[in-house]
């Protein structure tokens, strides 16, 4: 099937305005008759639930954490982009749009990215009004910093805690609606199924993580804001609870999953110390504003960094990409770091690391300034590594961080299943094959505050509210299927723990479907993953019972889903015989630079689930570039 992204016609800059005029509205008095379920309370979900509640809809929001304030958006450090052009450095909506499309290696839909750039400015205003304490200068104006893939300073920030502050802003707006009675928050609930009636999304099935009860919730529309899936690699910068479960369960009910192979490996994370490691910690990209990446020129050089003289250091990003330097995009910076380490010039234990050095900036600006900018990051680094980043360079290594792929959506953020909307990292829409720094926060809030409130009305206005409720037999069928799955997992009583399976899957994914992928490695993964999945269902040991808090059971279903989804990720990577952004196929490169094949692969790959152990069906959405010329991405 050829998919249509339904981008409106007309000139790029007028598409969104025109579309807003063309869409249907729901009368204010009728809004409360519609019930909307919002799953996930990160930036996208929190913003959506707050805004939809404020508009008068009847909203129920869900999160697996104990509070809506804890979603993993909170961990974003560096900042949020907007095309304000406050620094007068020639920024514009078009430039932000262009940088984002180019940063994504020309694999995103033009119209969606342009809309994102347009509403970026509203986001900053909105957050300021909510009381987000963005950094200010002495005159009281908002301050900006630079991020990768851009030559302007368009990133707004709140120390190294920007994601936290934006999320708290959304959470507070949400709390205000809870008090007003328009939103009900169900914390400690995890969505385990999408209920589809006559091809339309009409509800969800959840497990109450405290009582173990399987609960049904009906709604006239379901909005998934459930984040990314890079925990498929086991070790990543994601929170422990982040999973593909909600999205994958929707995919198993018919929603197409697009571009799963586009995963972002972030260049600056604290290197792993041992097999006990449960997660990796990011060091914000903003550090590359003042930190310089380098590795020793000599192979196997194990002198302390201070002992290596200047002319024996390779500032490889500045050498390879002089015009962007240390602020090259993430995919490029990650590959460059891996190249150094593969060449036996890595540093630290196991040679899996490069230096991020602040000595020059401290000399130029003084330690106080660096502390003011990144104090909490240096503190975090010291707590984890027991090393002082002011006195010796930080050691960093790439780690899985973000997923550009996600459920396929059209311009309205609606999936191919009517009534199922997908926002933020959970969808595939705007970042193409690589996301630029400070753009995830922008997308989450854009979708939640300024896109879904308009586009969901156009859908709701066409249906009768409350026509399908949880009295419909599909709800019971869904709940029964979920209960049966829980019983099955608990009954296996095998020999290996859930974590052991997750670790093994992570190794398969990292070694074969990680930063460098080849025909052979992907075929290997496609052999290993189903075998591991089979073993899982024979030999996993899930302790505890059904009617109680059971964290092992929670992990078990998340890993079970990764064991199915990982295969799709590898399959998509095998299908895409080109390199673009975060997807690097070793066969398709020009001296280490990604080599796209626009003639054959300028499309979004949307996969239709056909059953476990069955080949999924590929649907293509051709990407048309009417305003940007497809070019080789150069940061040199």
């Amino acid at each position: 099937m050829i998919l249509d992204g339904k981008a409106p016609s007309g000139p790029l800059a007028q598409k969104w305005d025109k579309h807003r005029q063309d869409m249907k509205l729901v009368n204010p008095a009728n809004k409360r008759k519609y019930k909307i379920l919002v799953v996930g309370t990160g930036l996208a979900g929190g913003a959506a639930a707050a805004t939809l509640g404020e508009l008068g809809y009847n909203v129920e929001a869900f999160c697996y954490q104990d509070s809506a304030r804890r979603a993993h958006s909170i961990a974003a450090q560096g900042g949020i982009n907007a095309a304000k052009n406050y620094p007068n450095d020639s920024d514009s909506i078009f430039r932000l749009f262009y940088d984002t499309v180019k940063g994504g290696d020309f694999r995103a839909r033009e119209a969606d990215v342009y809309r994102l750039a347009t509403v970026s400015n509203n986001i900053i205003d909105q957050c300021v009004a909510q009381g987000v304490p963005f950094a200010r200068d002495y005159a009281g104006y908002l301050d900006n910093r630079s991020f990768g893939g851009a030559q302007v300073s368009r990133t707004f920030y709140a120390r190294g805690q920007t994601g936290q502050q934006l999320l708290i802003g959304a959470y507070q707006a949400l709390s205000r609606q809870v008090k007003a009675g328009s939103v009900k928050v169900h914390a400690r609930r995890e969505m385990l199924d999408l209920v589809v009636v006559d091809g339309q999304a009409k509800g969800i099935t959840c497990r109450n993580l405290v009582t173990g009860q399987i609960e049904s919730f009906w709604g006239d529309a379901v909005v998934l804001c459930t984040g990314g899936y890079v925990n498929v690699f086991y070790l990543s910068t994601n929170a422990m609870g982040c999973s593909v479960t909600a999205g994958w369960r929707a995919a198993k009910k018919g929603a197409f999953f697009a571009n799963p192979c586009y995963t972002q490996i972030h260049p600056t994370c604290i290197p792993q110390t041992g097999d006990h490691q449960s997660k990796l910690t990011l060091m914000s990209e903003s550090l590359r504003n003042d930190g310089r990446c380098w590795a020793p020129k000599k192979q196997g050089d194990n002198r302390a960094p201070g002992q290596i003289p200047e002319d024996e250091r390779d500032y490889y990003l500045e050498r390879k990409y002089p015009s962007f330097g240390n602020l090259a995009p993430r995919d490029i910076a990650s590959r460059a770091a891996k190249e150094q380490c593969d060449d036996n010039r890595g540093v630290g234990p196991g040679g899996r690391g490069v230096y991020l050095d602040f000595a020059d900036s401290i000399k130029r600006l003084g330690q106080e300034k660096i502390e003011e900018r990144y104090g909490n990051l240096f503190q975090m680094y010291e707590k984890i590594t027991d090393e002082n980043g002011y006195k010796q360079p930080m050691r960093i290594y790439p780690a899985p961080h973000y997923s550009m792929g996600g459920l396929w959506v059209d311009y309205n953020c609606m999936s191919n299943l009517p009534g199922l909307f997908v926002l933020g990292e959970a969808n595939f829409s705007v970042h193409g094959a690589n996301r630029l720094g400070a753009s995830a926060l922008m997308q989450g809030l854009a979708d939640g505050y300024f896109v879904i409130p308009y586009t969901i009305a156009d859908y709701l206005a066409r249906i009768t509210p409350g026509k399908v409720t949880d009295a419909h037999p599909e709800f019971k069928a869904s709940a029964d299927a979920v209960k049966a799955e829980m019983d099955k997992l608990l009954a296996i009583k095998g020999k290996k723990t859930v974590s052991e399976f997750h670790r093994e899957l992570g190794k398969i994914m990292w070694n074969n479907v990680g930063m460098a992928r080849s025909d052979a490695s992907l075929k290997e993964a496609l052999k290993l993953i189903p075998a591991l999945r089979e073993e899982f269902w024979q030999n996993v040991n899930v302790t505890g019972g059904n009617g109680e808090v059971n964290q092992q059971l929670e992990n078990a279903w998340r890993v079970a889903d990764f064991l199915e989804f990982g295969e799709l990720l590898a399959r998509d990577a095998l299908n895409r015989k080109e390199s673009c952004g975060g997807h690097f196929r070793v066969e398709y490169q020009d001296k280490g630079e990604a080599q796209r094949d626009d003639e054959n692969y300028c499309y979004a790959a949307a996969w239709e689930f056909k059953g476990v152990d069955k080949e999924p069906e590929l649907h293509k959405e051709p990407l048309k570039f009417e305003n940007i010329e497809l070019a080789v991405r150069s940061y040199k």
Partner: protein, 265 residues
Amino acid sequence: MSGSAHGNMNLTLHVWRQKDAKDKGRLEQYEAKGISPDMSFLEMLDVVNEDLIKKGKDPIVFDHDCREGICGMCSQMINGIAHGPDTDITACQLHMRKFKDGDAIFIEPWRAKAFPVLKDLMVDRGALDRIIQSYGYTSAKTGGVPDGNAILISKENADLSMDAAACIGCGACVASCPNASAMLFVSAKVSHLGLLPQGEVEAARRVRAMVEAMDAEGFGNCTNHYECEATCPKGIKATFISRMNRELMKTIPCPPREVKAGGGA
């Protein structure tokens, strides 16, 4: 590579186990063997849990998520100190190098009337959400707000507001306080918003509503022990409590007037 055998530790844990909210609960003893100093405290518990599963026992339940000190989910009293023996961090960022071979470690949940235990080390902190719902926000609607630079904010106030806004809502302040007071948490929100012109407009209403909600949830009062400040993982200062009291006092002679909304033309 795994941490070298040299320097690895054997520890004795005394962990609070409680089946559910109704259970009385008790401390149980476990051995944690071969613990690397590079492990985080929660990774040490992961190791112990894997061992318990292998022995056919129920693993220890504890809240955790981001494991980088920002989500506020983890919540453990470690040797009687909220988040354990290191400063300015949460339990997930506490590293085992702070302990030594042979140590006994006591691990308990947050203890406060307003935080009932759900299981083992997991507690219900819904009371903090309800305090925020009482007025922990500005009433700005989505859309129709002025340009971000139309509101000038002095750097001093923006920075001080950010100091307060850094609160992660973990509840360590409550757990550390002999009165189980939530004053540091509430005052951080009152100050974060009250220090900004956008939030100052509603400051009087906010402080009254939030203090009322705090009292209704069963939190105690502040009697200047400063345990909250000492254990706050984000270094939030108790001076914010003084600031909140001042804001509250200001509303006593002239309380914010309740306005009944009327119909339009």
